[in-house]
């Protein structure tokens, strides 16, 4: 199955689209089926897919992508304040602004490679963060973050007399509209904002497949493999890396714009180096250079942040209800340090375990499970060797 997906992009797209669109149903049993988290999954998925175009393909490790996320968010919120609550102009501006910003930063930082490039991007992002937090407060509203207010102009929108801030919308379709239903005791929420993000994610995923399979993508992979050879093969690598940098910066800007569209606030923390770090971790955790991995990694990290941090003693007691009293308490005592305020401990452990046992990230785990299932399946059939040989030959075509 996995190897089939690897070779058949159409099938991969269809499976991916179905999984994403059915997100609210699939994730509900895991307690993650509510709009905010679903939106985050989709949006950070976009971010990670975009980052993977730079890091996964060219191997350039940028520590500054959070800056583009922030630029996108600020641009979008400003559009909401000045122009209209329709998300389209905001998102367009977010992509353009982050693209321009990426062009500027990329133009300077891509003069260096390796760790020097990483530190340069880090320096840019940290400067953006520090300034956004303090000196640039008139534009960014500093510590509090840029928020909407009743007094905003919104020149394209009708005059607002409701006394509350209008919600973000897509031609009247409000982002926070949610259709809820309860089936078999499970609460399912189908949210407009999520589906907007999801369709964009699917589109962006498709774009990333196109890039991966294009001559351009091949050149980017060649840069990662042996930049020297590429130069002596008559390729000017700088525009390639710059293009990849700008594209992935625009992805980040898009994600930032979407974040602001779902929740109209842009905070400076979005630009901090730790945010850039977590984007990197998403991609590595999922599997660098794989198509699905980054989306998976983004999901896992956001899931930990949203769900593990919110498990408290009461929830644990409810879980271990089934056990006799003293064992229940013992289990709660054992598990408690790893959830709630200890959620980061668990996340750290997951990072370590994944990288130690699954060097290729979660995608490698999936592949291994896939191969293992294949083996089990093939054990009975006579032509098993043939099939597996075929698949392995095929998968090297990747």
């Amino acid at each position: 199955m996995i190897s089939k997906l690897k070779n058949n992009d159409k099938l991969l797209m269809i499976v991916f689209a179905i999984l994403v669109l059915a997100g609210p149903i699939i994730l509900a049993p895991f307690g993650a089926g509510y709009p905010d988290l679903l939106q985050r999954f989709a949006i950070f998925g976009i971010l990670a897919v975009g980052y993977n175009i730079l890091f996964g393909l060219t191997g350039y490790l940028s520590f500054g992508h959070a800056a583009f996320l922030g630029v996108g968010s600020y641009s979008t919120v400003w559009m909401f304040k000045l122009l209209t609550m329709n998300i389209i102009p905001g998102i367009i501006l977010a992509v353009i602004m982050s693209g321009l910003f990426a062009l500027l930063i990329g133009f300077i930082t891509l003069r260096r490679s390796g760790i020097y490039f990483s530190i340069l991007t880090l320096a840019f992002a940290q400067m953006s963060y520090s300034l956004a937090y303090s000196v640039l407060t008139p534009i960014t509203n500093g510590e509090t973050g840029l928020q909407l207010s009743l007094a905003d102009a919104r020149v394209l929108d009708p005059v607002n007399t409701s006394g509350s801030i209008p919600s973000t919308n897509l031609f009247g379709l409000e982002m926070n509209d949610t259709w809820r239903t309860t089936i078999l005791g499970m609460d399912f929420q189908f949210n407009v904002g999520f589906y907007v993000s999801a369709f964009i994610l699917i589109g962006m995923f498709y774009l990333s497949i196109r890039i991966f399979r294009s001559p351009f993508g091949l050149m980017l992979r060649a840069i990662k493999s042996n930049q020297n050879r590429l130069i002596y093969t008559g390729i000017n690598t700088r525009p390639y890396t710059l293009a990849a940098f700008v594209i992935s910066g625009m992805y980040a800007g898009l994600a930032g714009g979407l974040l602001a569209s779902m929740d109209p606030l842009a905070g400076a923390e979005r630009m901090q180096w730790t945010e850039s770090g977590s984007i990197i971790l998403m991609v590595i955790l999922g599997g660098t250079g794989t198509l699905l991995g980054p989306v998976l990694g983004a999901g896992v990290i956001k899931y930990f942040e949203a769900i593990f941090s919110r498990i408290n003693e009461n929830v644990l007691h409810a879980w271990f209800d089934i056990l006799p009293g003293f064992m229940e308490n013992a289990m709660v005592w054992i598990v408690l340090p790893f959830v709630g305020k200890g959620w980061q401990l668990t996340l750290g452990l997951v990072f370590m375990l994944v990288v130690i046992f699954l060097p290729g990230g979660l995608m490698e785990g999936a592949t291994r499970i896939g191969n293992w299932v294949m083996k089990l399946k093939n054990r009975g059939s006579a032509d098993s060797t043939k099939t597996s040989a075929k698949t392995s030959a095929k998968s090297s075509d990747e």
Partner: protein
């Protein structure tokens, strides 16, 4: 619209099968045609406790969480009732809120606006929280307050000291019990005048973000009114660890007062550096050099250790107060956890009680009803003397404590001593005071 309680074990099993063993839909909203967001349906009222559990303010968050748990226990009729017994309003009877058992969910703000909003959103969307409360910084409080306004739930702010929370960023659905920068300044000024005289030259170090600016503005205005001169105001980056390069220029600046408009780690580090540079042993203009920390908390005092001795500041509440309300709270908190509560714990406990009481008096959880019940509400017995929730900006007005670092602490919690309780009249200001101008409450939003 039936409320369906799922078979938790069954869910757990299926969850484990899929590989994570996580299943947590414990709270269910039944009705989508309710009159307001997350209306409780008789199975319990969900409160969302959104506090910092990671990051520099995690200890403060932990203390807030303790107080919240205590408040929930008391509201549901457990424990000794704490301040419910001394509270002037008697609407609360210990059977939850409006007959609904009080339940709660917790989240981690990480002291980041983004994370705090995400956490609050999940409480509203997933857990069906009807009220959000907590936080340990103004940026977070303002961000979450904005969210609650849009989502149509009540926000009861935790520790937030910026003028903006009930100033230019005030919101109809948001309420603050904690005091603010202006009140700190108004309370401190008379004491400083008495202690240090009217002929002083002050040097300000200010954390370079909105809270720092508003506090500096307030303190400078109040001290200049009584004749002090503000010689300099230096903005320091939030990320500063070693403040030596900001402290050193103070030495020969001609100033004889240093005001540290810092909070948390910033304050601990700047005060440590200031004392290390011998500022307190200096004589300038023929007077002893003095340091002032306008906003104090016990955790900060603990972090700065012996350096806080004799240094003046203000605080919202302190456990050594002897009124009946404070004593009742300290007793029940102390017996439950073994140490006295911090001011953060106190303010969030009060906020929870005030919210519950407002619901009872309004007869509904509807935010608009609650807003109406809280606006202009006068009460007593929650530790700060007679208190007024002003309708115009949702700020509480009450006495403010001026404290000083204790010279001979008897335990690790006994770090501050109350110098003066500044009466409420002295710290009041008009709703349209220029430091609070620029925002509008808007209308209450009940979400439906």
């Amino acid at each position: 619209m039936s409320v369906f309680t799922p078979n938790r074990r069954g869910l757990l099993k299926s969850g484990a099968l899929i590989g994570t063993g996580l299943a947590m839909p414990t709270i269910f909203t039944a009705s989508s045609v309710a009159a307001y967001t997350n209306a409780p349906t008789g199975s319990g009222a969900i409160l969302g406790f959104n506090v910092p559990q990671s990051g520099p303010y995690a200890d403060e968050g932990a203390d807030e969480l303790r107080a919240y748990k205590l408040a929930v226990e008391h509201l549901n009729g457990g424990g000794d009732g704490g301040m419910m017994n001394t509270f002037s309003s008697k609407a609360l009877t210990g059977n939850g809120i409006l007959g609904n058992e009080v339940k709660y969910v917790t989240g981690d703000t990480q002291t980041k606006s983004d994370a705090a909003r995400a956490s609050a959103k999940s409480m509203i969307e997933k857990d069906g929280a009807v009220m959000i409360t907590g936080g340990s910084s103004s940026g977070v409080a303002i961000a979450v307050q904005g969210l609650c306004q849009e989502a149509g739930v009540i926000f009861m702010a935790g520790l937030t000291h910026s003028n903006d929370t009930t100033g230019k960023d005030k919101k109809a659905n948001g309420f603050r019990h904690f005091f603010n920068g202006y009140m700190s300044a108004a309370a401190l000024a008379p004491v400083l005048k008495e202690m240090y005289g009217t002929d002083r030259v002050a040097y300000h170090l200010t954390a370079d973000y909105t809270w720092g600016w508003t506090q500096q503005e307030s303190i400078a205005a109040a001290t200049e009114d009584m004749g002090w001169q503000t010689i300099n105001n230096v903005l320091t980056p939030l990320a500063t660890q070693d403040f030596s390069s900001y402290i050193a220029p103070v030495l020969n600046s001609g100033a004889d007062i240093l005001v540290l408009n810092h909070y948390g780690g910033n304050m601990i580090n700047s005060l440590t550096a200031a004392v290390q540079f011998g500022l307190r042993d200096r004589q300038v203009n023929g007077k002893n050099f003095e340091i002032i920390v306008p906003l104090y908390s016990r955790l900060m005092a603990k972090g700065a250790g012996a350096n806080v001795k004799g240094i003046f500041g203000s605080t919202n509440w302190h456990w050594s107060l002897t009124d009946a309300g404070s004593q009742a709270f300290v007793k029940s908190f102390g017996e439950a956890y073994g140490f006295p509560p911090s001011q953060a714990a106190h303010t969030v406990y009060c906020q929870t009680l005030l919210y519950a009481d407002a619901c009872e008096r309004a007869g509904t959880f509807d935010p608009c009803g609650v807003v109406e019940a809280l606006e202009g509400f006068d009460f007593d017995g929650l530790g700060n003397g007679p208190t007024h929730y002003r309708a115009g900006d949702h700020q509480c007005f009450k006495d403010v404590l001026v404290v000083k670092g204790k010279e001979n602490p008897t335990s690790e919690f006994d770090l501050l001593e109350v110098v003066q309780v500044t009466p409420r009249a002295q710290v009041e200001y008009p709703v349209d005071h220029p430091m609070f101008a620029g925002g509008a409450l808007g209308k209450c939003n009940s979400g439906a």
